[in-house]
Amino acid sequence: MKKMNMTIVSAIVILMSCITFAKPVIEIQDKAQTFLKNRNLQIQKNRLQNNSGIIGKSFVVAVDENSNKTFMKIKEMMAKSFDVVESKKNLKIRNKNIKMDISNLNLERSVCAKRMLNQILPRNFASQFRLVSVDVEKSFSRSLGVRVEGYTFNYKRLFNNRIVRNANNYLNISIDGLGRLKEAEIAVEDLTTTSVTVDVDENFSENKTTIDSLVGADFEFVDFVDESGYRKRESVSKIEVNGAAEAYCEILVEKKKILLPCLSYTSKIDVSSGEKIDYIIDVPHSRKSWSQYRHEQKNAIFNRYIH
């Protein structure tokens, strides 16, 4: 009788969780799969070479908010060839004579973006940034039709070759429709690799399970705007992961900012009404590194939507 009651209770619990939240299907596309598989192989190889135990580790990075050495260094270098305006957290850079070659922008966006980066920053700093997105300004007039009036190339800083996914390490280059530099804005923080580590997944099925854990915890609903311009909140039915990158995600631990190694995924989310939304999903390096910060009651806040 007791056993039967237990079974009924379990069935009710399972049923309740089905009713409250039907978990979205996660599909990892070829490009992201290839990235993860190559990455996992490299981690295994490094671990074997270094004889560093059964579980892979990656290092946590500290943000030194009391120092601005990197910022000042960039400022000094940029001031040689640009008009530089310094504000609290960023530098604005102008030079009316700089024109970017955007002739192959539509065909080779990343090549064009890299060339632009090298035109603005000294090579050693240019290699510390990676293009993430391009904003476009479009105009319409009766006589000229639709025209592109300008672009903003949005780069994120790389540290230890990982994208720093917080709001204070970026470069945005704005140009007009002809490629003339309007302004570049740059922000960098002083970052230091610590000796603290988190565990790293090194097989594809674990990577997928970790995404699944995060989706289970945080992706019941998404807010978006439909084609009629109405704000909607709908449940997520499918997540299609298209791209992946090694990254650092900012979290707060005892009011101090730290950068936790994470994987950042670009994705398309299907909501229950059938619409698709672009999303960035940041996922910790492993379920264990997740639980370390989520379940040991530390104040962990993941910025999941930073572009």
């Binding site: 993430v132 006589s143 109405y230 672009d278």
Partner: protein
């Protein structure tokens, strides 16, 4: 710079008395009480920021907040009848849709509309000019000119609705430019206007760069609100050479160097609509 800065504002939080708006929401399965707007707060931040920037940069410039209409003092009759043309800035915060703003009691078209006995109350419009240089519609989609059902699509010859473009053109009676959104707006994220005032009045950026950068800034700050990723700040402005041979691009106007006269659609001047679309991240 303008010889004075007079500001008129209208802001509506409460739509419980706007039956037209309520019916429109109900047709989309929603009701007016679903979410309170922060329009009055946004308006106050706009005015405070603008005047603070003016007093820092141009302390001797005459400034006045002449009309401050909120909720039941922000009816269509008020908007139509007040002498808004004596204000350099006209600002509205509240609900909007394509070429429409929703006042406390009724919608009002953002077009010349009509007047007189035969005019439907739903087609009251207003033109902007004389002293009015800049109009700000802090409301959703007022500057969107796409065909119905295609509001979120990119602007191209297949998506544009020329009759909606014509409506916007019809309000340009001297006004230099209209700022607003091609998408939903940042309801309640007042920082847009504190950044805008700083950039436009104090830092010497152009009108469009100031508005676009202010939106960028909030977009980056508020990205945790997922709907914000669909935001498209926009401007309707004038470009071309007038009959006196003076070239204008009112999106690129500086506050300190603004053309001190109304600019009308004459010579080869035409109205353009421009928006900024935030790019999709790719790895």
């Amino acid at each position: 710079m303008p010889p004075k800065v007079v500001v008129s504002t209208f802001a509506v939080n409460d739509y419980s008395n706007n039956e037209y708006f309520r019916q429109m929401l109900l047709s989309h399965g929603r009701d007016v009480h679903e979410k309170d707007l922060q329009a009055i707060n946004s308006k106050q931040v706009f005015v405070n920021s603008l005047f603070a920037s003016l007093s820092r940069k141009y302390p001797s410039l005459y400034r006045l907040h002449v009309y401050d209409r909120t909720d039941d003092s922000a009816k269509v009759a008020d908007y139509k009848e007040l002498l808004l043309y004596r204000s350099e800035f006209v600002y509205f915060a509240g609900h909007g849709s394509q070429q429409k703003i929703y006042l406390y009691d009724l919608p009002m078209t953002v077009s010349a509309g009509c007047a007189g006995d035969g005019c439907s109350i739903y087609n009251y419009g207003k033109v902007y000019g004389e002293d009015t240089r800049w109009v700000i519609f802090d409301a959703c989609e007022v500057l969107n000119v796409n065909k119905d059902g295609m509001l979120d699509r990119e602007l191209n010859v297949n998506t544009i609705d020329y009759s909606k473009v014509q409506k916007l053109i019809s309000v340009f009676a001297g006004v230099h430019a209209i700022l607003g959104y091609y998408s939903i707006s940042f309801d309640g994220y007042d920082n847009v206007y504190s950044y805008f005032s700083k950039y436009f009045i104090e830092d010497g950026y152009t009108l469009w760069d100031s508005f676009s950068m202010a939106n960028d800034k909030v977009y980056r700050e508020k990205r945790a609100v997922s709907y914000a990723r669909g935001i498209k700040p926009a401007i309707a402005f004038l470009r071309g050479t007038d009959e006196k041979g003076v070239y204008h691009d009112t999106s690129a106007e500086f506050f300190a160097l603004t053309y001190n006269q109304p600019i009308k659609i004459s010579g080869n001047i035409e109205m353009l609509i421009m928006y900024k679309e935030y790019g999709t991240p790719i790895y």
